[in-house]
Amino acid sequence: MTGFLTLEMRRCVRDVRYLVIAVAMPVGLYLLFTGLFGSHGQQAQGLPQPVELMVAMIAYGATWAVFSATGPRIAHERAIGWTRQLHVTPLTPAAALAGKLVTALAAALPAMALVALTAVLSHHVQLTVAQWPALLAAMWAGVLPLALLGLAIGYLAGDDIAFPLTMALYFALGALGGLWMPLSVMPHVMRDIGQALPSNGLAELGWRIAGGQASVPAAILVLAAWTLGSGLTALLAYRLRAARSTG
């Protein structure tokens, strides 16, 4: 199992789609947006622009990190029969599934840390000694529903549509979830939709912690609901595929 995990993670690090979209792009966008919008204005969240954008880009990068490690990859492995081959080794299907989840969560960490590091280095973002670990830990945990969503896509979608589907979802979650621009500048209906998305819940966790507010019940509720929904869907999809693993 350790060997399986290590190799899965090594694959992730070599994956150009992961490196470019999950790691390089959020850093680039962070520098671009802070450059465009200036680094001093107060935002709707009540946070300085560089802090608010840092949290948004952490959420954005983490979203693609867990998506790229799950949806398209699992769909492809099912299509080429690697999943089947793995099922005739002593690695149980449940362990393989758990391995995918752990790999996806691990893939989110570098993407998140690099944006934070960029924010510190380029805009001297300062949080307290307690805030940094709290922010990163809470946001890391908040990635779980997105990772489960990726698993569900991997087991439901075919190889041909898994990548575009994941990509579209990633853009939609970013745009509608308030990662590209604050929900407060959007029309009312969009705001309601945005607040129900896991991407917004994830960023909300970060914004609240960075703003020194301990309590984030709404965001936690949203993330918990998505965890439950995506988790059940992933489990059902996985069992459906396992039952039809041979033709």
Partner: protein, 316 residues
């Protein structure tokens, strides 16, 4: 039923190596499986003793892949029992007793051959050293290559290596040579013989009679989801392997032809004679000693597949 299946059994006369006591490597009784209205298996019985190399021979659609799916716990049977080394197939797989090369099963993308094999062997309790594995599967030069950059033949070798990486007691192969050329096929069976020579049990599905004859200790013929024959390769070949001796009859009576050794059918078109034989060597020898005048001798004709399939259809 279940307890009887797990009992230690002694089976006599089923093939080489089967006279010893111990749980059968594979024991199936009355296995049936349907997909909707399509019957894939209709009550298959199968016994494989430890150390045997057994071919599961049958045409496409005979139920070979379904049988293998059941033996590996990838499918569950509608009815019947199956035990691998005295336990359920899933348990045997989880215990690392089984290695398998499935049809159309791919390799983990984006990794090197060596990395992949190291990972796979790490999943098994008993492992073959990587250099021994590379030797057995002929991988020497490609261990550092990415799996996405291998030729078709190399992919097959890596798949074989992955199947034996955990030094399994039982190796199951589902039409392993389907994508190989003649030379690759020959090399592959040499590798299998080396592996089996370590006292391992091998069960492989094929639709090539010749392959079953070359590689197996025993051949189980299935058609229409049932076992229709089970025996030594020579016996199976004599029954299913129609070979031909052709020549032009220059002198002598055609009435003598059916009496030649090994001949089971005679065709004649003008002076050109085709003898269908179960043993062409014997037929040619007895032809030479028959006093008949003949020329233009050809042995073979050997459309083995066609004759095999035709005979199977007659059987079922």
């Amino acid at each position: 039923m279940a307890s009887a299946m797990t009992d230690r059994v002694a089976v006599a006369g089923a093939g080489p190596g089967s006279a010893r006591l111990g749980p059968a490597a594979v024991l199936a009784a009355g296995l049936a499986k349907s997909y909707g209205s399509t019957v894939a298996l209709a009550g298959l019985d199968l016994h494989v003793a430890p150390g045997e190399t057994v071919a599961l021979l049958g045409p496409n659609g005979a139920g070979k892949s379904t049988a293998i799916g059941l033996l590996l716990g990838l499918l569950s049977a509608d009815c019947g029992q199956v035990r691998v080394d005295g336990r359920s197939p899933s348990q045997a797989v989880a215990d690392g007793l089984v290695g398998a090369m499935l049809q159309d099963a791919g390799l983990m993308p984006g990794v090197r051959v060596g990395e992949l094999l190291t990972m796979v062997r790490g999943l098994y309790p008993r492992q073959l050293p990587v250099d021994e594995l590379a030797g057995l599967a002929g991988l020497g030069a490609i261990l550092r290559r990415r799996v996405d950059r291998l030729s078709g033949g190399q992919v097959q070798r890596v798949r074989f290596a992955a199947a034996i990486a955990g030094d399994p007691q039982l190796l199951i192969l589902d039409e392993p040579t389907a994508a190989m050329d003649v030379q690759a096929r020959r090399d592959f069976w040499t590798q299998i013989r080396h592996f089996a020579g370590r006292g391992r049990t091998v069960l492989f599905a094929t639709h090539y009679l010749q392959e079953a004859d070359d590689a197996a200790d025993r051949v189980v013929v299935i058609a229409g989801g049932r076992k229709i024959a089970d025996g030594a390769p020579a016996a199976i070949k004599a029954r299913f392997g129609d070979r031909q001796v052709r020549f032009t009859l220059a002198a002598g009576s055609p009435a003598l032809l059916p009496a030649l050794a090994g001949v089971h059918a005679v065709e004649q078109e003008g002076p050109r004679v085709t003898l269908h034989s179960t043993d062409t060597d014997a037929t040619v020898r007895s032809l030479a000693g028959s006093g008949l005048g003949w020329s233009g001798l050809e042995v073979g004709g050997l459309d083995l597949e066609t004759s095999f399939l035709r005979l199977l259809e007659e059987e079922s």
